[in-house]
Amino acid sequence: MTRNLVVVSAGLSQPSSTRLLADQLAAAVTAEGDFTVTVIELRDLAHDIANHLLTGFPPGPLKEALDAVAGADGLIAVTPIFTASYSGLFKSFFDVVDKEALVDKPVLIAATAGTARHSLALEHALRPMFAYLHAVVVPTAVFAASDDWGADSADGLLGSRIRRAAGELAAEVARREPVSVVDPFALTVDFKDLLG
């Protein structure tokens, strides 16, 4: 059965090392099973996200992205580390994701930054945020600093970490039923029950 893998990348530059890491993670997950991959570049949605915060509804392209996240069997979320935490754009996106959308959803968290000193931001910022949303964050979080893309990457440590995290995510997806999205307009109670 084909499963839906959604990748959220909050990189800002072009090309972006955040997107590079996201693509490598997605490739490693798809190597583990049959997945269709949808990549969401938050940079393209930055104005829509701000407008949603102000008006209360998502413009068309953002609506599609939010629906994709809600309908994902597995999610890869990658952000640059800014000022000791996830980027503001990354957080703003997850602020407008429906609070029920990530319940029991397998999530792989990953981040990029200039130096390895930022790596624990994954554990003290991203992991608690997804725990709050009742997502199931796989144990291995993947961090890539500038060194990992350069000469120091020859040891293959980043690659092995990507494969381990991808294996964990694929396993969590495999042991779950495909996601069914709850229609927010569907009536869940009969009016006579509401009347009590």
Binding site: H47, A50, N51, L54, T55, G56, F57, P59, G60, P184, F185, A186, L187, T188, V189, F191, L194, L195, G196
Partner: protein, 361 residues
């Protein structure tokens, strides 16, 4: 079909002049606007209820009674009456009184109110918004239909042998609309009682309105009030017009860009595309409004928001002139020619009285 305007009663600085009307000016102006709505041939004036600045309309029945005394055909309504934080006993009394004073020209629209801090000022909690709306309306419905009421609920003191006075005019309760943007429970509530459903249709995309109205129609039929296309639907709308479309855009843009709700957010062009807001020529407003029917079906009431975001009263009156002379006559003709005979008009006191006399005869 009924056409009219609704006001949220905001007191907003005009961004083009920096002038802010005083409460006294704005309140005087709202009466002028309502009277002019009747003069240009509109059917309905609806007024919001708010208990916080920058809004003035904390006491809609007072304002509506004053307008009723100076008009003769205008239907007076609300947008909305807070069914959550008001005591349903007081709503029953106030609107029955207004019914008598206005000769039955009253209906009202129930809303929950989405301003969190307001609830505790009235001893309520916004997290109980839906249960409050359900229980309070159940009591209001009973108070208008039963002379002596014994009642006990969760949210107010019990009533024993209570009679709400004055009784509704001719013992016919005012028609009620239930307003909502996105709560299916409220569409269900309107359907359960066979009341009207009013979709806000301003802040959110048309696709939301379509889903909510479809749900209401389906449940209206489920509860045995008629076929889905006989349910009573109202829509909000927001327009700004000038003869020349580009003039409308140019003049409205600073008001849009600084508007309290969506200002400093999406562009006018984005918001026009994503929501039913129409800024342009009267013909563009006609075309867009006729298009609403394609996704909600034949409907009974169209209200436009004209006086907001600091627009000067002179401009609002000009908008009313355009609506009355160029837009509404065309819409009336077009909508009426499209509407099948079995689709009813929105009930009014006169139509409900006539229907009762017909049954009796």
């Amino acid at each position: 079909m009924q056409f009219g305007i609704f006001s949220v009663s905001d007191i907003t600085t005009d961004p083009t002049t920096g002038q802010t009307p005083s409460e006294a000016e704005r309140i005087k102006n709202i009466v002028t606007i309502a009277k002019h709505a009747e003069e240009v041939g509109l059917d309905v004036f609806a007024l919001g209820e708010h208990h916080n600045e920058p809004f003035f309309s904390s006491s809609p029945t007072t304002t509506l009674a004053y307008i009723a005394a100076q008009t003769s055909t205008l239907q007076l309504s609300t947008a909305t009456t807070l069914i959550t934080t008001n005591d349903p006993v007081k709503i029953a009394e106030d609107f029955a009184m207004l019914q008598h004073l206005s000769g039955g020209r009253v209906d009202l629209m129930m809303g929950r109110g989405n301003t969190g801090p307001v609830y505790p000022w009235f001893g309520k909690d916004i997290r109980a918004g839906i249960p409050l709306a359900v229980e309070n309306y159940a009591l209001l419905h009973k108070l208008w239909r039963e002379h002596t009421v014994d009642w006990q609920g969760k949210f107010r003191t019990p009533l024993q042998s209570f009679t709400s006075t004055p009784r509704p005019l001719d013992e016919i309760p005012p028609f009620v609309w239930h307003g909502s943007i996105r709560s299916p429970e409220i569409a269900e509530q309107a359907a359960f009682y066979g009341d009207g459903f009013f979709a806000n249709h301003i802040f959110w995309p048309a696709s939301h309105t379509q889903r909510m109205v479809a749900l209401y129609r389906e449940r209206f039929a489920h509860y045995g009030h008629g076929d889905p296309d006989q349910a009573i639907v109202g829509l909000g709308g927001q327009v700004f017009m000038r003869k020349n479309s580009q003039d409308a855009v140019k003049e409205f843009r600073p008001y849009f860009d600084n508007a309290p709700v969506y200002g400093h957010g999406p562009s006018l062009e984005d918001f026009t595309r994503e929501t039913p807001l129409t800024v342009g020529s009267p013909q563009q407003v006609i075309d867009r409004t006729l298009g609403f029917r394609e996704y909600v079906g034949d409907y009974q009431r169209q209200l436009f928001l004209l006086d907001h975001a600091g627009l000067p009263v002179k401009t609002v009156l000009e908008q009313l002139d355009l609506l009355g002379s160029e837009v509404v006559p065309v819409l009336r003709k077009e909508f009426d020619s499209l509407k099948p005979a079995h689709v009813p008009d929105a009930p009014t006191h006169a139509s409900m009285l006539a229907a009762r006399q017909e049954v009796a005869a």
